[in-house]
């Protein structure tokens, strides 16, 4: 337990440092990049000292770390607001979108996976798996516009973009959730198939327990255990996928903030957003890992 905590901490420091060095060690001068070639030397110097880039790298790094501890991520070059305030303002929208997408994915994947596993080898199985393959292969930056075209522009059922109107979360959530649903369905299927082949299921069948009860009461619980780990891993894909989905639907979350900041070359905001997403991903991953140990006694014993 203690060693796991330590490795998590090392990884956390690594992630935090990687974000810093990403911005600071890459060849090319950010000031040059922000102001362009035609900037006056005096303006360059001014921006350089505003960004703190005129100080030695170790000092900048120490400053960055001590800022992090105080939740100070610097100020936006564009709006001059603190980055932390910007992130907090945008976070609820991203959480709402990810949560709805996540629920949607589970609601689609669970029945689909169970259907495929309990009728393995039949038309239902191959149908569900084909659907899942299509879901994995469809890129969300295309699915989004196509859903807008069909449901917003042609059928007039949903708003095109933004999040003010009722029902505006539906299309972004579908766009974001489809690939997760597809991966989950595959995972539920293979995991359930494996559990259904175990001895205790055979015993239950021999006792005359109904097939339905076997699947839902005896097998599914155990089959879902490995799926928990996968959910943790996929949470990162969900967060990162929300960057593209938010761009497609102009959904005012941290993903859109990141893309806008990249276009405005607003480095402190880019750094803060990437850091927030990466750290949340890491924390969720470690928590699922922990949860997995709690719910599965076999892992705890190891």
């Amino acid at each position: 337990m203690l060693t796991r905590l330590i490795t998590s901490l090392v990884t956390l420091i690594g992630v935090v440092s990687l974000v810093f060095f990403l911005i600071h060690l890459i060849p090319g001068d950010p000031v040059e990049y922000i102001l362009g070639d035609s900037a006056r030397p005096a303006d360059r110097e001014a921006l350089r000292s505003e960004l703190g880039l005129d100080r030695p790298l170790p000092v900048q790094y120490a400053d960055y770390l001590s800022g992090l501890i105080r939740f100070d991520l610097g100020n936006s070059l564009h709006s001059k607001q603190p980055v932390t305030a910007l992130l907090l303002e945008r976070l609820p929208a991203t959480l709402k979108l990810s949560l709805v997408a996540f629920l949607l994915a589970v609601l689609i994947a669970l029945p689909l996976g169970v259907l495929a596993a309990t009728r393995s080898g039949t038309f239902w199985d191959s149908g569900a798996m084909t659907l899942s393959l299509l879901g994995v292969s469809i890129p969300n930056f295309w699915l989004g516009p196509m859903l807008i075209l069909l449901f917003s522009l042609w059928l007039g059922l949903t708003p095109v973009s933004g999040m003010e109107q009722p029902g505006s979360v539906v299309l972004p959530a579908i766009t974001l959730g489809v690939s997760l649903a597809a991966i989950l369905a595959r995972m539920v299927r293979s995991s359930l198939l494996e559990v259904l082949g175990e001895d205790y299921i055979r015993t239950a069948r021999a006792k005359g327990v109904s097939e339905q009860r076997i699947v839902w009461r005896h097998a599914l619980g155990n089959a879902l255990l490995p799926v928990i780990t996968l959910l943790g891993l996929q949470f990162g894909a969900l967060l990162a996928g929300s960057v593209i989905t938010e761009k497609v639907f102009s959904w005012p979350g941290i993903g859109l903030l990141l893309i806008d900041a990249i276009q405005q070359r607003d480095y402190p905001v880019v750094q803060g957003t990437v850091l927030l997403i990466a750290v949340s991903y890491l924390i969720v991953n470690r928590l699922t890992d922990l949860l997995y140990r709690v719910v599965d006694p076999r892992v705890r014993l190891e």
């Binding site: 992630v15 516009p145 196509m146 990162a240 996928g241 593209i244 990249i262 991903y281």
Partner: protein, 265 residues
């Protein structure tokens, strides 16, 4: 059946790229008299907002997708395999350091790191390949490390050590060749992932720059004209979807053919 579908699509993709010089396409030429022309006899798949041929731009995009995906998969698979095999085989401090780095890289959602890298490096095809490779090698390294760990216990490796083979030779001749099957499977799924990443970054404006055509930037440009000219966004999306689907199907087929166990999680 699905195998033939996959092979047909992938071959058509490669052929489309190879045939391009013969077709003398002009994907960047502007026809102001035929802006947003719908698909029809004059303009095969219609024209975009500048009157450029969507069909010819699709072909140009196919070339970018092929170049970027092959280059990226080759670079990341090669680097990942060597680093991972070294880590697993050498053990000790080397393994600890490399494993830590792999853990940190995996603690990043891949596409996010690619977005951040592409943003910092600036747009362009070279930077696109660098950004996706920096993210991509980790998966191969993890796989290669696990393989090397189990392979080095095998008798033929012990025999090679007993015969006095040098470390590098053992790695090159006795370990790496045996771990190729899962890596080849990973690489074919890698093609699909890289195409999506390239198109995604170009969609965000971080990849291929105008006027050059990429399937991703075509979708982005088309998204502004969904109502008046839906074909602008529909066709490049179908192209990505078909190629990605084919690469995934091909990977599935390879996996069952080469008898590689599906990785969990």
């Amino acid at each position: 059946m699905s195998r033939w579908f996959a092979i047909t699509i992938l071959l058509a993709w490669v052929m489309a790229v190879l045939m391009q010089p013969l077709l003398q396409t002009t994907p960047d030429v502007i026809h102001l008299d035929a802006i947003l022309a719908p698909p029809g006899p004059d303009y095969w798949l219609g024209n975009d907002a500048l009157g450029r041929s969507v069909g010819e731009r699709l072909l140009a995009g196919a070339e970018i997708a092929l170049l970027v995906s092959v280059a990226t998969v080759l670079i990341s698979a090669l680097a990942g395999t060597v680093i991972g095999a070294l880590s697993g085989y050498a053990g000790g401090m080397t393994d600890i350091v490399i494993s830590r780095i792999i853990d940190i890289m995996l603690a990043f959602p891949g596409i996010l790191l690619a977005i951040a890298l592409a943003a910092v490096l600036g747009p362009g095809i070279d930077n696109l390949v660098i950004a996706i490779s920096v993210v991509g090698w980790v998966g191969y390294a993890r796989l290669a490390r696990a393989q090397a760990l189990s392979l080095k216990q095998r008798e033929h490796v012990t025999a090679a050590i007993a015969l006095g083979s040098r470390q590098g030779r053992i790695l090159r001749r006795h370990i790496i060749p045996l771990m190729l099957a899962p890596l080849v499977v990973e690489a074919s799924f890698g093609i699909a992932a890289v195409i999506v990443a390239e198109a995604g970054l170009s969609f965000l404006g971080l990849g291929v720059q105008p006027p050059q055509a990429s399937w991703g930037s075509m979708i982005r440009e088309g998204a502004d004209f969904l109502l008046v000219a839906p074909h602008l966004a529909i066709f490049p999306g179908i192209a990505i979807f078909l190629v990605v689907l084919a690469a995934n199907l091909f990977g599935d087929w390879l996996r069952s053919r080469l008898n590689v166990r599906e990785k969990v999680g």
